[in-house]
């Protein structure tokens, strides 16, 4: 439970780490959109090359990025499987009972798999190179233009930060409460649905109590440190657009261009 890899930040000194979070956010969104437009293997080749370049620049050990893939293995197999077996096609390669594998099916499955892999690897670079605070700051700043229509950008960002900070703590807490109740003879694994739901009560009540207590203490601590929303607030890591940021955006646009070129093949 405590080893959740999503959103895990890998702090080190690299050009990608120092890139403005907003650029990284928009860049990631662009990357995902471009991926959806790929319709030729050359396009995946371009994307893979691009990704390799970014990973090299980010100085993140590749095994960390591959670890993120482990979590989607199931989805991958499922998605590829569905495409493999259920794509209607002309060129039947293999036929046994109700199983029919067509060339088109294989094509679709491999497209799907590549798209998913590149997507997950790409977006994990965002979370690995950007600390949650920078990420939320970036989101806040991107949402800021929506303030006139009453989108509470700052509050959303602060909520996200705190949620990210306390997810591991709450997971740990839950594990501890479960153990303690087991030591008191609680049984979570047997019985019908109703009994099982009832048996969650000894976990949920203490968990909520503790979450509320935490929230209360945290609010007090934040107030004690002069927190009062975004009134007159500054940032240590102020976001600014420098040459690197513009170059980054430029690179993304070139990447997009290349992807569209592969569509013409």
């Amino acid at each position: 439970m405590t080893k959740i890899t999503i959103g895990q930040h890998y702090p080190t000194d690299s050009i990608i780490h120092h890139l403005d979070a907003r650029v990284k956010l928009i860049g990631t969104i662009m990357y995902i959109v471009f991926l959806l437009f790929v319709n030729h293997y050359a396009g995946y080749g371009v994307a893979a090359l691009f990704l390799t370049g970014i990973i090299a620049l980010s100085k993140i050990p590749p095994r960390l990025i591959f670890r993120g893939l482990r979590m989607i293995v199931f989805i991958l197999i499922f998605a590829a499987g569905i495409n493999l077996f259920f794509t209607a096609g002309e060129t039947v390669l293999f036929h046994f009972a109700f199983i029919r594998i067509t060339l088109e099916g294989i094509m679709m499955a491999s497209h799907m798999a590549m798209r998913l892999i590149l997507l997950v690897m790409g977006s994990s670079i965002l979370t690995l190179t950007t600390s949650p605070i920078q990420l939320t700051d970036g989101i806040e700043s991107l949402l800021n233009p929506l303030k006139p229509i009453k989108v509470p950008a700052h509050d959303i960002a602060m909520l996200m930060t705190i949620a990210l900070r306390y997810i591991p703590a709450l997971a740990e807490e839950m594990e501890k409460i479960m153990k303690a109740q087991k030591a008191r003879g609680a049984d979570f694994d047997t019985g019908g649905l109703i009994k099982r739901i009832r048996s969650m009560l000894p976990i949920l009540v203490p968990l909520f109590v503790s979450a509320f207590k935490r929230a209360d203490e945290l609010a007090t601590a934040m107030e004690a440190r002069c927190y009062r929303g975004d009134i007159n607030r500054t940032k240590m890591k102020a976001m600014k657009m420098t040459r690197t940021e513009f170059i980054g955006m430029g690179v993304m646009i070139c990447f997009g261009g290349l992807i569209f070129l592969t569509r013409l093949l």
């Binding site: 303690a180 008191r184 003879g185 203490p206 109590v209």
Partner: protein, 303 residues
């Protein structure tokens, strides 16, 4: 794991092992978290330990020394990566169905146990454990009442919400929740953490009472050497997953320097006696109580 597969038929041995003089026996247990991964961490390293019925033992060590992991092996919340855990001479991992009965016999009170209270009334909360054991309502009621009496909570508390109690009372109610299962062995993880001196004294004297009056085998887990010395006559010191010291308080406290090096604090009196001993070797070391220290010093005055 090995123990389980090797002992396909444990019955023939059972009679012989019943006579084991030790209520708890650990045979070379190790526990490795995240085995075979980059995060592999050896939390318990080849620990063997024997505890007799009716003993009161303190287990001390700093945070992360492995003491919390160790005690979770005693009631089968954790399974050793290798080695065997025997309660009353029986390997507790031979029969899965009996885990519940092991957990009833080996009562484990976690750190800050008041965080696990969940019922609307104190009485109901304490009854949770016995109710899970499938006892009659009458039997549950007697057990709950006597458990609450042991921890010094009277009838006026029975129907209060746990959240109306004071910090010390909450903790005692939570301890009663484990006591009501009538365990033979009671393990308490840092029972005095975060309490004020008065609360600390109350809990400690009740633990002493459970040992002497109820005859429970007690393991007190603590990083407070003071608590350990005050209550027990055997202290186990853990560091980096190993038990590095096992002896009487006098023997253990005589090694003040070593204890400090592994991040424990020696009672002030104990450090003082070590300093005095350096000046005058007639004064003994290993003393930790004010009474004993005064006796020793007065001996110099009137030999």
């Amino acid at each position: 794991m090995k123990a389980q597969t090797n002992r396909l038929n444990p019955q023939p041995n059972e009679g012989a092992e019943e006579t084991s003089p030790y209520i708890i026996e650990l045979r070379q247990i190790s526990h490795i978290y995240n085995e075979d991964s980059v995060f592999e961490k050896r939390a318990i390293d080849n620990v063997s330990l024997k505890i007799k019925a009716g003993e009161m033992v303190a287990l001390i060590g700093h945070t992360g020394s492995g003491k919390s992991t160790l005690i979770q092996h005693l009631n089968a919340l954790l399974k050793p990566s290798s080695g065997m855990v025997l309660i009353n001479g029986k390997d507790i991992h031979t029969d899965k169905a009996k885990l519940k009965s092991i957990r009833q016999r080996v009562g484990l009170v976690f750190q800050y146990p008041e965080h696990q209270l969940f019922e609307a009334e104190v009485f109901k909360d304490v009854a949770f454990g016995p109710n899970q054991m499938g006892l009659t309502e009458e039997e549950v009621n007697t057990r709950v009442k006597s458990a609450l009496e042991v921890v010094g909570l009277d009838e006026s508390c029975y129907h209060k919400s746990p959240f109306e109690l004071s910090g010390g009372q909450k903790r005692r109610a939570a301890i009663a929740g484990v006591l009501a299962m009538r365990p033979e062995i009671l393990i308490l993880d840092e029972p005095t953490a975060g309490l004020d001196p008065r609360g600390r004294d109350e809990i400690l004297s009740q633990i002493k009472h459970m040992h002497t009056k109820l005859g429970l085998t007690i393991i007190l887990v603590s990083h407070s050497m003071d608590d350990a010395a005050r209550l027990t006559d055997r202290i186990l010191v853990m560091n980096k997953g190993c038990i590095i010291c096992d002896g009487t308080p006098i023997e253990v406290f005589a090694q003040g320097e070593m204890l400090k090096n592994i991040g424990l604090d020696v009672p002030q009196i104990s450090s003082l006696m070590t300093c005095l001993h350096e000046k005058n070797s007639n004064l003994p070391t290993g003393i930790f109580s004010v009474e004993a220290a005064a006796d020793a010093i007065m001996k110099l005055v009137r030999p």
